[in-house]
């Protein structure tokens, strides 16, 4: 132990007695400065290599305080601060304040973040007259496609003081970007690079003299790139089709892999605004906007599934033996009496007596009331759970909502009887049921793949930007939902008839077998929500979609044509007609249906 202390004495003596002069030199005449070389964030590409998130250089004008004991004056002279103010377009008093802050804290003060090039050029020219002023170049996030795919990409913002306190020595520094939403957030670990640095020896006026010889500069390592499953052409088609939709969402999934092809939420925002640094007022504006543009409705909003839920009711009935393809119930005369109440069918004139395929094709409520009554709440909600509803899908995006499948236990916990009235509502997708658009798209994908569960995901691979080596991201999945093969086929056949001869005619694509289901969900706050889910081609599905238009009215007339645009873009991605533009709102629906026939005819010849 005594020996140990002697070693310490020797260590101190070496520094203070032998090497004293060189260190005093370093401390007095020169100063060391750590220059952080910021690592660019990883880029994000769509499935075909289209760049969705990139880095661009940003110039920041700063004032760096002089080291203590420096003989240089530590404030900018009056003419110098006036000059800087003039160049940057800032009032003189603000410049002085910044200089004072820097000198008090010992940390550089940023006058102008992300300054335009012409301002930077002017400052650079007069730098000699502005001691302590520097222009710092750092990578800034840039989203070349602007609002395109904004919700799935998310955005990165400057790290807050609270985050710094908890993450500080994980390498985060003040001024760093950190993912706040979307993929930027869920893949923060991959996207973030490792900052490098170099130690400079600077002279008393703050100018660089040399590199500190004892420590080699460390190059920054850029973050890893993400390669998505998203096809920007499908994304674009759906966004354009929804250009007139005030609030709503659409999701397209490849049912073979679970890879998300497109994910749209309306209204959108421009993530570039966040990269440039958002003013407090603009942030306020975005967060208090009643249409909540930052909310990703595809995963963070939940809607009653409406009649799209009849797929679940059908599967429950078929697999529990309550019905088969030939079962006829009491015919539909526009409604159904139960418990002294009259439950309407949406078709007030009635459907007459139908079997399963036609009941689904025409979305007959009376038929499904009776299926629901035979099943009861338990068996119906069991099937919903088996079809992955009421649970987070596990998609690689943050803050996904769970939705709600109200089981008998759920009602019991709220002291409510899960009786006939309840099951009647649930059977047609109303009542307490809530689903996210992503869950609905996943439901369509599940039917398309005849029950093979593939977890929805957006990232196909993570790529090293230097070596180009890709590491595939493989979400768990591959489970099979236990429903007999023939039962799937009956539902698929019925869904095909929905489009061919039923309520979903506006999703028809000539030459391609499309299966779909319309939905119109009652909205206590206003007009009904329009829903549509679909997949195609029926014989070997490659795309499954869900479209929700808030307050849109009928699913068949509003949501189905949007889904159709998505399918066209997927099936003929480079066709001119696949990017036909905005689908007209409900009023013009009939006309849209007519034009639909025209352009599919042309597409066929493509």
């Amino acid at each position: 132990m005594v020996g140990g202390i002697v070693i310490l004495l020797l260590g101190v003596a070496r520094l203070q007695l032998l090497e004293y002069r060189s260190y005093r030199d370093l401390a007095e005449k020169n100063w060391l400065r750590l220059e952080i070389l910021r690592a660019p964030r990883g880029r994000i590409f769509d499935a075909h290599g289209v760049l969705l998130a990139d880095n661009a250089p940003a110039f920041t004008v700063i004032f760096r305080p002089q080291p203590f004991g420096s003989r240089q004056p530590d404030t900018l002279s009056t003419p110098a601060s006036a000059l800087l103010g003039a160049l940057l377009g800032l009032p003189d008093s603000l410049v002085r304040q910044g200089v004072a802050t820097a000198n008090r804290s010992g940390l550089p003060f940023e006058f102008r973040r992300d300054a335009p090039l012409d301002v930077v050029a002017k400052v650079e020219e007069r730098l000699v007259e502005l001691p302590g002023v520097e222009v710092r170049i750092e990578p800034r996030r840039a989203y070349p496609e602007s609002t395109r795919a904004a919700h799935l990409l998310g955005y990165a913002g400057e790290i807050s003081q609270a985050e710094l306190d908890s993450l500080g020595e994980r390498g985060y520094r003040s001024g760093d970007l950190i993912g706040r939403a979307g993929l930027e957030r869920s893949y923060e670990k991959e996207l973030r690079g490792v900052d490098g640095g170099k130690i400079l020896v600077v002279n008393a006026s703050g100018r660089r003299v040399s590199l500190y010889p004892e420590e080699k500069p460390v190059e920054p390592q850029p973050g890893r790139d993400l390669v998505l499953t998203v096809d920007v052409r499908v994304q674009r088609a759906l966004e354009q089709a929804m250009a007139n939709v005030a609030e709503g969402a659409a999701v397209a999934i490849d049912p073979r892999t679970g890879g998300v092809l497109a994910l749209v939420s309306r209204p959108s925002f421009d993530p570039n605004e966040f990269a440039h640094g958002l003013s407090r007022a603009r942030w306020q504006e975005l967060t208090t906007d009643p249409s909540h543009p930052l909310l990703d409705r595809a995963i963070q909003a939940a809607y009653p599934p409406g009649s799209t839920f009849k797929i679940v009711t059908s599967l429950a009935g078929l697999s529990d033996g309550v019905l088969d393809e030939n079962t006829h119930f009491q015919g539909c005369g526009g409604g159904y009496w139960y418990g002294g109440r009259f439950f309407r069918c949406w078709q007030h004139s009635g459907h007459g007596s139908l079997a399963l395929v036609d009941a689904l094709a025409h979305s007959c409520d009376v038929y499904y009331y009776q299926v629901g009554l035979k099943l009861g709440v338990k068996r119906l909600t069991d099937m919903a759970k088996r079809l992955q509803l009421g649970e987070r899908s596990g998609v690689d995006l943050p803050q996904e909502r769970r939705g709600l499948v109200p089981t008998p236990e759920w009602y019991a916990a709220r002291r409510r009887r899960a009786g006939g009235g309840v099951v009647l509502n649930l059977a047609i997708g109303q009542g307490e049921l809530l689903t996210t658009p992503l869950q609905l798209a996943a439901l369509a994908a599940l039917v398309a793949s005849r029950g093979r569960v593939a977890r929805p995901h957006l990232v196909r691979a993570v790529r090293d930007p230097v070596t180009g080596v890709e590491r595939a991201v493989r979400p768990a999945g591959g489970r099979q939902v236990e429903v007999a093969g023939q039962d799937w086929e009956w539902v698929v056949q019925a869904m095909e008839k929905v489009v061919a001869a039923g309520t979903g005619g506006m999703a028809r694509v000539a030459g391609v077998r499309v299966a779909g289901k319309t939905g119109t969900a009652q909205n206590p706050h206003g007009q009904d929500h329009a829903l549509f889910i679909a997949f195609a081609p029926v014989e070997a599905p490659t795309v499954a979609l869900a479209v929700v238009v808030e307050g849109g009215g009928h699913g068949g007339s509003v949501a189905a044509p949007i889904a159709r645009q998505g399918m066209l873009a997927h099936l003929w991605p480079d066709s001119l007609f696949a990017v036909a533009g905005a689908v007209r709102p409900a009023g013009a629906a009939r006309a849209a249906a007519d034009t639909a026939v025209v352009d599919t005819a042309l597409v066929q010849g493509d």
């Binding site: 132990m1 310490l8 203070q16 260190y23 370093l26 401390a27 203590f68 010992g106 640095g197 420590e215």
Partner: protein, 406 residues
């Protein structure tokens, strides 16, 4: 404590500790102030801790030593549970989970574990029937030290976890473990550690030959040791090169936790410049320049010695080290003169813990050891660690006042 006991208090020990603690308050004030901008808040809080620590030391010294023997298992159990809790629900600060509780009430269970482990080891090694020439006698002491070591390592806090090893080795030695056996038993650990530090087998090979020449073990043991260390020496480089760069990076951050390599290197350079520029006489109290700049972010905690070196110069730094030396020498002296074996073991354990902290911290500030985040006892700003050090000094005082008792 009655008057008779008070007269037995070791003046050297108390004097050195008090001088260090008061210097600590003054240095914390200097480290947090800048020329023309005095800051009193840190120094005030440190003074409060000092007052509290004095009280704690007095209370600890007043309780009869026998009580600690009985208390040890309970204290140890509480410490282990707290360490487990830290891993389960602890607060993450700087990328490691080391704190329990929140706000003013948070504390580092690893500090409590240091005390509890020393007491528990002393209790275990105090057994008259313990025969340290038999291998199985080591099972219990080894377990007592390794459980907290592993838990703290998991936080991760390599620097602190090794303090349990230091206490174990010192106390085993004091309990009568043959020196040769102790040295030989430590060779595999030294082997792996030296490889990671030097990235080559040669440093260890030299140490190993030295140890063997010194201890001359019997042939079967010699063969066993050579085989074991040979396997480690050949296995480590293979393991190292088979690792992915990011895994190596992880080990490097593990050896050097919480800091990116570049940042840590920079801190050490700044610390060396601060100490070196102090020269023989120093720049004078409150006159240091390096502390005011943006480097040395932990100047009032882990890097307080750099401020001492810069402002008080070599003679000031040497005086501080001599004060520590006094503390350690008195600790060992107390262990020798204490008639009670448990008390002696406690004195050795506490002294080893203090020694380990001083060594690791000062070696870090002069750039001869990696940045580990261990405080300098009594000098560094900090609540839990400061009070625990006071309790440790209290235990030494306790030994000193009752050194005549059996």
């Amino acid at each position: 404590m009655d008057r008779r006991l008070l007269r037995q208090v070791d003046g050297w020990l108390v004097g050195a500790a008090l001088l260090l603690a008061v210097t600590g308050v003054l240095m914390v004030f200097s480290a947090t102030s800048m020329p023309g901008h005095p800051r009193f808040d840190y120094a005030m809080r440190q003074s409060l801790w000092l007052a509290f620590g004095l009280g704690a030391a007095f209370v600890v010294a007043s309780i009869p030593m026998r009580a600690y023997d009985g208390l040890a298992p309970y204290l140890y159990a509480v410490a282990i549970v707290c360490l487990g809790l830290v891993l389960a629900v602890g607060q993450e600060v700087y990328g490691a989970k080391r704190w329990l509780g929140a706000g003013a009430l948070r504390f580092q269970p690893s500090e409590l574990a240091k005390l509890a482990t020393v007491l528990m080891l002393a209790r275990v090694l105090d057994d008259k029937r313990l025969d340290l020439r038999r291998a199985r006698s080591y099972a219990v002491p080894l377990l007592v030290a390794l459980v907290p070591l592993a838990l703290v390592l998991k936080e991760p806090d390599l620097g602190t976890s090794l303090v349990f090893g230091a206490a174990l080795v010192a106390m085993l030695f004091w309990a009568g473990m043959p020196t040769g056996t102790l040295l030989l038993a430590m060779t595999p650990v030294a082997n792996a550690a030296l490889f990671l530090l030097t990235r080559g087998p040669w440093a260890f090979a030299a140490v190993f030959v030295g140890v063997l020449a010194l201890t001359r073990p019997r042939l079967p043991i010699l063969l066993l040791l050579v085989a074991l260390n040979g396997a480690i020496a050949t296995g480590m480089p293979a393991l190292w090169s088979a690792m992915e760069p990011y895994q190596r990076g992880r080990i490097e951050t593990f050896l050097n936790p919480g800091h990116d390599p570049y940042g840590a290197g920079y801190q050490i350079i700044q610390s060396r410049i601060a100490i070196g520029s102090g020269g023989p006489l120093g720049l004078g109290y409150l006159q240091g320049t390096q502390k005011g700049l943006e480097f040395l972010p932990m100047k009032h905690t882990d890097f307080i010695f750099s401020v001492v070196g810069e402002e008080l110069g070599f003679w000031g730094a040497a005086l501080i080290l001599v004060l520590y030396l006094t503390l350690l020498v008195r600790g060992l002296w107390l262990a020798r003169v204490a008639r009670n074996r448990f008390a002696g073991l406690v004195a050795v354990g506490v002294t080893a813990v203090l020694w380990y902290h001083v060594m690791v911290n000062v070696l870090m500030t002069v750039g001869w050891a990696p940045v580990t985040g261990l405080p300098l006892p009594l000098l560094s700003y900090g609540g839990t660690s400061f009070v625990v050090t006071c309790v440790e000094i209290g235990l030494l005082i306790n030994v000193s006042v009752r050194r005549q008792e059996y």
